[in-house]
């Protein structure tokens, strides 16, 4: 009872709610702007929390985190421009829905799925934190390599069109991830004297190029959008959509928590994996990619749940699960609190208040999302040529803003051209993108596992979890391709 009183004292006050509301709104805006990530938003706001009490500071930063993760989906649905890497998967069905004149439906279902994922993730965070942390701690480099390979393989398998082309795209992404300093030896690879790519090809400009600039370069895009049907906005999702996506939301949320809890595997992997699984298991599998509402729900639920999952190793082990939680850990330490196994023992009031803040932040973002989506959807009524010019400027400033390096704009433009070429030649962008994100994780963990096993490749089948992940993903890829081939034959008949 005492703990509840302490939580109430920590959380039910004006500064806490004020900070939470500001953080959520700021996060939504940051997430919606291509190139500005949750990491950047939190990093920008940390200096403002110096003089704030701990709980309002945490509420604000958590609001930014969850707001930014959802904010990326608004632009992904409306403009085919994901604001964050995790939102890239939202474009697959969100944008086709927008083109069908169902932007409002896509946005409201996305917001509701975000709430489902957030609440489910928060509940799992509260009740399962110790167990999940224990399991995540047992994973070694071999398992991380297997997980990265599995994610890339599955996304290549679920891509439309030729599996060979999708695999080539994935391999090109992996090759591109090798640019920059070698993660183990520090040797600079393929940098050709440029310091701009010393830390690897900057991911955000590539993402902006592939999604935003490709859209700007598309001369047909303004005509397509201008002739699209009315937005059909509704503030809350329809009951039919809620029922239709309920099971997808639950499944994706559970998957998202587990993926998010594994260090290194964040919301982006959860989103892509969940999309693949939803596409595979749904009766409407062939409709995925053409504007299937379950595709939007699966991605939103999983990626939001993954953010709660990422909080598990952060709070209970002191290990950040992704780049955002790495910045958050800095904020904890800045305020004199060391996350880790002792946090729940030494500061139960604060730890449970944080868990409460996580849940509340998701609800706040949902409320804002419902209102903000309305105004974002109205943007579609403007002249699309002006919108295109605005996307151009936002993409350019987004690519530049992360590092303040003009070379990043050039990188974004070049990858915009690469995106056009890929599209024209039927090479899917998603495997390329995911392979680029996971490339260094796959390589470094593979080499670490090899070093730990004294150069023997037996770690691939000696470790049961690794073997299970690899076998399951191989089986899933074969199954997906067989199903796709059958569907193709049926369609041809």
């Amino acid at each position: 009872m005492e703990i509840f009183q302490q939580i109430a004292a920590n959380a039910f006050n004006a500064p806490f709610f004020g900070a939470l509301l500001f953080g959520a709104l700021f996060g939504l805006v940051i997430g919606a702007i291509p190139g500005l990530s949750a990491t950047m938003g939190i990093a920008l706001l940390i200096p403002f929390t110096f003089d704030m009490p701990f709980m309002p500071a945490m509420a604000m930063l958590l609001g930014v985190y969850f707001g930014a993760v959802y904010g990326g989906s608004i632009t992904a649905i409306l403009f085919n421009t994901p604001g964050t890497p995790a939102s890239a998967a939202t474009t697959f069905d969100g944008y086709p829905l927008m083109q069908k004149g169902q932007a409002g439906r896509a946005l409201s279902v996305a917001a509701f799925s975000m709430l489902c994922g957030g609440v489910t993730g928060s509940l799992m965070l509260i009740f399962l934190a110790p167990q999940i942390s224990g399991a995540a701690l047992k994973l070694g480099p071999a398992e991380f390599f297997a997980m990265a390979l599995c994610a890339v393989g599955i996304i290549a398998a679920v891509s439309d069109g030729s599996f060979i082309k999708a695999s080539v795209a994935a391999l090109c992404g992996l090759l591109l991830s090798a640019v920059g300093m070698d993660g183990l030896t520090g040797y600079p690879r393929y940098i050709f004297g440029s310091a701009s790519v010393m830390d690897g090809v900057p991911f955000i400009p590539v993402l902006i190029g592939l999604f935003a600039f490709t859209e700007v370069f598309n001369p047909a895009s303004q005509e397509t959008q201008q002739t699209s049907a009315p937005i059909g906005f509704c503030a809350l999702p329809k009951l039919a959509d809620i029922i239709n996506t309920a099971w997808t939301n639950i499944k994706s949320a559970i998957l998202g928590v587990f993926v998010g809890a594994a260090p290194g595997a964040g919301a982006d992997i959860a989103a892509f994996m969940s999309y693949g699984m939803a596409k595979q298991s749904a009766k409407e599998g062939e409709e995925f990619g053409k504007g299937e509402i379950k595709g939007v729900a699966a991605v939103e639920s999983a990626k939001t749940a993954a953010t709660s999952g990422a909080m598990i190793p952060l709070l209970s082990l002191g290990i950040p699960g992704d780049s955002v939680t790495a910045v958050l850990i800095g904020a904890f330490i800045l305020h004199g609190l060391q996350p880790g196994p002792l946090l729940f023992e030494k500061h139960p009031d604060i730890s449970y208040s944080i868990l409460f803040a996580v849940m509340l932040a998701h609800i706040t973002v949902f409320v804002f999302a419902i209102f903000i989506s309305k105004w974002m959807a109205l943007a579609l009524k403007m002249d699309m040529r002006f919108l295109k010019a605005a996307i151009f400027a936002l993409a350019a400033v987004g690519a530049y803003g992360l590092r303040g390096n003009p070379a990043d704009i050039l990188i974004a433009v070049v990858f915009g051209i690469v995106g056009v070429v890929m599209k024209r030649n039927s090479y899917p962008v998603a495997p390329f993108l995911l392979a680029l994100i996971l490339g260094s994780m796959a390589e470094v963990n593979f080499r670490r596992a090899l070093i730990l096993s004294d150069g023997a490749y037996s770690f691939l089948w000696d470790r049961p979890i690794t073997l299970c992940i690899l076998a399951a993903s191989a089986a899933l890829i074969v199954f997906i391709r067989i199903k796709a081939a059958r569907f193709k034959r049926k369609a041809a008949k």
Partner: protein, 143 residues
């Protein structure tokens, strides 16, 4: 098929460049093995893709309108020019000009209005990023 050939050329160059990476005794796999293995696999798959494309004798894709191709190339050129000139001309002026160019290429005829919109939008972005977020934006001509 042209893209496959281009990717093959890129992968061969990657393998050749990887041959020069040093090896560390503790790391038997080395810095070169991963990119070389990935590039080799990509070459094999590209060759397979070429083989299947020849076998299928795919229908040539429908010809796009000249106007569309021209607009696409112009937009790419404008973006490249913007990326190269932004540090010299400055963020506000170059973004204003680039946005006006995008509008013009997209079929908006009133260049002055387009430039005014671009300039206004660029100034807003400048205020948010440079003044509010304290990110350095090149001033160029306005310096």
């Amino acid at each position: 098929m042209k893209t496959d050939i281009f990717i093959i050329a890129l992968c061969v160059s990657a393998i050749v460049a990887a041959a020069g990476f040093p090896k560390v005794s503790a790391d038997a796999f080395g810095s070169a093995a991963f990119p070389a293995a990935v590039a080799s696999l990509a070459i094999i798959l590209c060759l397979a893709d070429i083989f299947f494309e020849i076998k299928k004798r795919k229908k040539t894709p429908s010809k796009r309108e000249k106007r569309e191709v021209r607009a696409e190339l112009l937009l790419m050129a404008a973006a490249l020019a913007y990326a190269l000139l932004m540090p010299v001309i400055g963020f506000v002026v170059s973004t204003g000009l680039a946005m006006a160019a995008v509008l013009k290429i997209s079929g908006y005829d009133n260049f002055l209005r387009a430039f005014a919109f671009g300039l206004g939008f660029a100034l807003c972005l400048y205020a948010v990023f440079a003044l509010l977020m304290d990110i350095y934006m090149p001033c160029g001509l306005l310096n």
